[in-house]
């Protein structure tokens, strides 16, 4: 039998141990690093490079004659109109989701724990079936011979023509993104220390004032998180507007797709993508800045 000689602690040994620890951490994260690099960073970089390239007359992208021409086109009135429409739609979706989700999240968070878990599962059930399939279901529901329209006609009314309108897109987006608003709001309200609300009531605040002065400000991180989770993807939404929206209501998502596929103007499509991502990044950073102050 040999006895291992254990060395006494020295600064360089501590340093070696620290390096080994950081190396282990790197290997644990390696699969994610590789995946994110190959499928996110490199494609993003390609998009960024393409946005400075030029389109040849045949629709090929020439990786030469680098210019800012594609970015100049972002100030085109048509682009501005589409951007404003997308922005308003994303804003409306976010606000409606917030108005619907907040009372529900509040209700969930104030139930007894067993019921909370049941409600939580109910919120997540839609994720069990495909988003595309569920959006096509809305197409049937909102169609001029769909159940809503039939009900209206049975009651002696006009057929309802919702499909291929902005309203249909809005309904579809609110439907699709509501859980993303409910969950962070629920997480924030579930963590709430309700004795704070009692303290406010004890200090002469009525129910509404206690909500306004205590519950709402303390749930604001959840409101911000939910709003970002709904606003950012709806700004660039493609599937829902493509299925429920009409040709008249082009949004940023379809517009970008059409640049790549129909107009075959990859540099301009890339510039649109980069521009949109920059705006989202600004919003997200602003959120984290303000969130850090609120938390």
């Amino acid at each position: 039998m040999t006895i291992d000689t254990v060395e006494a602690a020295r600064p360089e040994l501590e340093e070696a141990a620290r390096r080994a620890d950081s190396r282990r951490g790197f290997f644990i994260a390696l699969p994610a690093w590789v995946y994110l690099t190959v499928f996110f960073t490199i494609p993003l970089f390609i998009v960024l490079v393409y946005s400075f390239a030029t389109r040849s007359s045949t629709g090929r992208t020439r990786l030469a004659d680098w210019s800012l021409d594609s970015y100049r086109r972002l100030w085109d009135p048509l682009v501005a109109q589409i951007a404003v429409r997308s922005f308003m739609l994303a804003l409306a979706t976010t606000l409606i989701c917030l108005l619907v989700a907040y009372p529900f999240a509040y209700y969930m968070a104030t139930r007894r724990p067993a019921l909370r878990n049941v409600l939580l599962v109910l919120v997540m059930i839609p994720f069990w079936s495909n988003f595309l399939v569920r959006t096509y279901a809305w197409k049937v529901l909102l169609g001029s011979d769909g159940p809503l329209s039939q009900l209206s006609q049975a009651m002696g009314g006009e057929p309802i023509r919702l499909l291929f309108t902005n309203t249909a897109v809005l309904i579809g987006l609110v439907y699709g993104f509501l859980p993303f608003m409910v969950l962070p709001l629920y997480a924030a309200l579930e963590r709430m220390d309700w004795s704070l609300v009692e303290a406010a009531r004890d200090l002469y605040a009525d129910g509404w004032t206690a909500f306004r002065r205590v519950t709402w400000p303390l749930s604001r991180p959840g409101v911000f998180a939910g709003s970002i989770l709904v606003f950012v993807p709806t700004l660039g939404a493609y599937v829902t507007p493509a299925i429920l929206g009409g040709a008249k209501t082009t949004l940023l998502g379809d517009y970008i797709v059409s640049q790549f596929l129909a107009a075959r103007n990859q540099p301009f499509g890339s510039a649109l993508s980069v521009g949109m991502m920059t705006v989202m990044l600004v919003f997200t950073v602003a959120y984290f800045r303000s969130g850090a102050r609120n938390l």
Partner: protein, 354 residues
């Protein structure tokens, strides 16, 4: 003295749990009243009913003669110091303290003056601008006190406010709280499971168990003359010995020893005799025992040294009895195995129902 808070036949039922049963209580103006009992005894529910966070299932609850009924908390002249302090984390110390006054629409100048005075009172004026989350436990506790007292409530309700503090700080705060209460003259209703807190601070104590108010009295009455086995056992250390009533002046302990003790129970009735360990004295067999004392012979089976006191376990025919003797000159030390006489004054003997 004027009556401050009155409960008449108050009960609270949650589903099939009777949290508070048929409670009658009267607290006087300016009194420091403690509700003492183990967790789940209904003391916090009682406090929450007075605050307005829970409504009684049955009974009348009046504050200065005004029926509180189903009044919400914001319409009651009481303020609460919460167990977890419940300071608003998104507000500064000053904003926390000013909250109640602002809700009552008190003028800005007056709010400023009163908040400053309240913070001075708890020696936290220098932390007025700090976020309430940056304070130590003891400081949070003081802010919670200032936030409640600044409103000059008719009654201050305190729900185990010292529970989260460490021992030294808690003892210091006990003294401070009592001083504060004497200074402001507001009725305090204090909920605690800690008998030491209740004994040292209260003018009167109400002991609760299983939703019932068992006994109300001064700390001395509660400690010296418990009226039930539960109160005797819950507060302090005590020897509980099974006995049978002989007549209204004496009982017979298990093992047949008769001892003097006054009781209202009928002869032949099974009762429990309660004696505090510090009221017992140990005598060697060769020592003369003063006349008039109750005596019981037994063998020392255990001795524990506590520095200032010795605890002895003495095995007697009536059961093992704990004796607490001071460690000072003139008090003899007794050895394990030694046969001794346990003696005590009949006046220190309490007879309670078994």
């Amino acid at each position: 003295m004027t009556e401050s808070v009155r409960l008449e036949g108050v009960s609270k039922v949650f589903g099939d749990v009777h949290a508070v049963r048929d409670m009658d209580l009267s607290v006087s103006d300016g009194e420091f009243f403690s509700l003492l009992g183990p967790s789940g005894c209904g003391k916090t529910t009682t406090l929450r009913m007075i605050a307005g966070f829970e409504f009684p299932t049955q009974g009348a609850l009046r504050i200065h003669g005004v029926e509180m009924g189903l009044q919400p908390p914001n319409k009651r002249p009481v303020n609460t110091v919460f167990q977890s302090y419940a300071l608003f984390p998104h507000m500064t110390v000053e904003e926390n303290v000013a909250f109640g006054l602002r809700m009552k629409k008190v003028g800005a100048t007056e709010v400023g003056d009163r908040v400053k005075k309240a913070l001075d009172m708890v020696q936290l004026a220098h932390r007025a601008g700090a976020s309430s989350t940056q304070l130590s436990g003891g400081q949070q506790q003081r802010v919670a006190l200032a936030r409640a007292l600044v409103n000059e409530p008719e009654v201050l309700l305190l729900d185990e406010p010292l529970g989260a503090l460490d021992l030294k700080l808690r003892q210091a705060m006990e003294v401070e709280l009592k001083d504060l209460q004497a200074r402001v003259g507001i009725t305090f209703i204090y909920v605690t499971h800690d008998q030491e807190e209740a004994l040292t601070m209260s003018d009167r104590i109400g002991v609760m168990n299983e939703g019932r108010l068992l006994q109300v009295g001064t700390p001395q009455e509660i400690y010296e003359h418990p009226t039930s086995r539960f109160v005797a056992d819950f507060i302090g250390e005590i020897n509980l010995l099974a006995a049978t009533v002989v007549d209204h002046r004496s009982v017979r302990l298990l093992g047949g020893t008769p001892v003097a003790a006054s009781t209202g129970a009928a002869p032949g009735h099974d009762v429990t005799v309660a004696v505090r360990p510090e009221r017992l004295e140990l005598y060697g067999l060769d020592e003369p025992v003063p006349s008039g004392l109750n005596t019981l012979r037994g063998k020392v089976v255990r001795r524990v040294y506590f520095g200032d006191v010795f605890y002895y376990d003495v095995d007697t025919p009536a059961g093992v009895i704990e004796v607490k003797e001071e460690n000072r000159p003139g008090v003899d030390l007794h050895e394990i195995g030694q046969v001794t006489v346990v003696a005590w004054d009949p006046a220190a003997t309490t007879v309670v129902e078994s």
